[in-house]
Symmetry: C2
Subunit: 166 residues, 2 copies
């Protein structure tokens, strides 16, 4: 399953919340937790991680909390995911682990370079999306069918897609 962490989603929601908040006041973990119904402990941990990676700043003590360190327009989803979850490795074969230079099967199977390139393309894709796009846009829920998104494909492929996609 190709899925982001739930904490990454929590983080996105929190970032959007902070961005929309009228200036001055800091946002506490409790506030985010109460507002959206997220588990408090996880929300706190998520915000700490955002602080550790420099995306937000913390203010300790009573009346403390967190404030954005950078504009959402300057942060890409690629950077955000990497800071929340670590290096993006969409395929095991291309995971840049320092211990092993490549894939465990790279001796007999020669797809590492292709897999690594695929990974790079995913990173490029994620880097083309700004957090501000996710925070500002109001998008109709209706567009959820696969068939709606095949516009840039050759005709032959459209038929194949239609055949199997629910």
């Amino acid at each position: 399953m190709i899925k982001l962490n739930r904490t990454t989603e929590y983080g996105l929601v929190a970032m959007k919340h902070m961005a929309k908040k009228p200036g001055g006041s800091a946002t506490s973990a409790r506030e985010v937790s109460d507002q959206f119904g997220f588990p408090f402990e996880i929300t706190a941990k998520t915000l700490q991680r955002l602080k550790d990676t420099g995306l937000i700043q913390s203010l300790q003590g009573a009346r403390g909390g967190y404030v954005l360190a950078r504009s959402l327009d300057e942060i890409t989803l690629g950077e955000f995911v990497e800071k929340m979850e670590g290096p993006v490795a969409v395929v095991n074969c291309a995971s840049g682990k320092t211990e092993s230079p490549g894939c465990e099967y790279s001796g007999r199977c020669e797809m590492t370079s292709v897999m690594t390139d695929l990974n790079r393309r995913v990173i490029q894709f994620l880097s083309g999306i700004r957090l501000s796009e996710l925070a500002n846009s109001e998008i109709p829920v209706a567009l959820t069918r696969f068939e709606d998104f095949l516009g840039n494909q050759p005709e032959s492929m459209k038929e194949n897609e239609k055949a199997h996609l629910s």
Copy 2:
């Protein structure tokens, strides 16, 4: 972690192997397993799944095995991933589970539509990659596709990305 299943990688390797094989003879699970060092049981299960979803055809009995049902040029990575792993749900918030119409937090948090749109874009991205691209290239795929996802980025962001990627 945003990662594909290992079986999906096994499947890709197997598909490439079958595509490159001189015509006529079928490819057995044992052959793929031996060739690349994959666990046999998993390889067999992977090929069965490919057969169940119609991407390859099976020939039972001695001298049996599998052959491609369609050209790799007609199959997109989006279709392949969906057939190997089920519906793509890159964020939990946008998972189209039949039980719950939306996200468990959708009552107070209003990001479902944005998350669903993000999911749509990921699917569209995967659907823009043909398996033949992954199978044919011994050297990394040309960067021409990258620009599709970079064109709308401000210059400042490109610098940020360069700083932290790979």
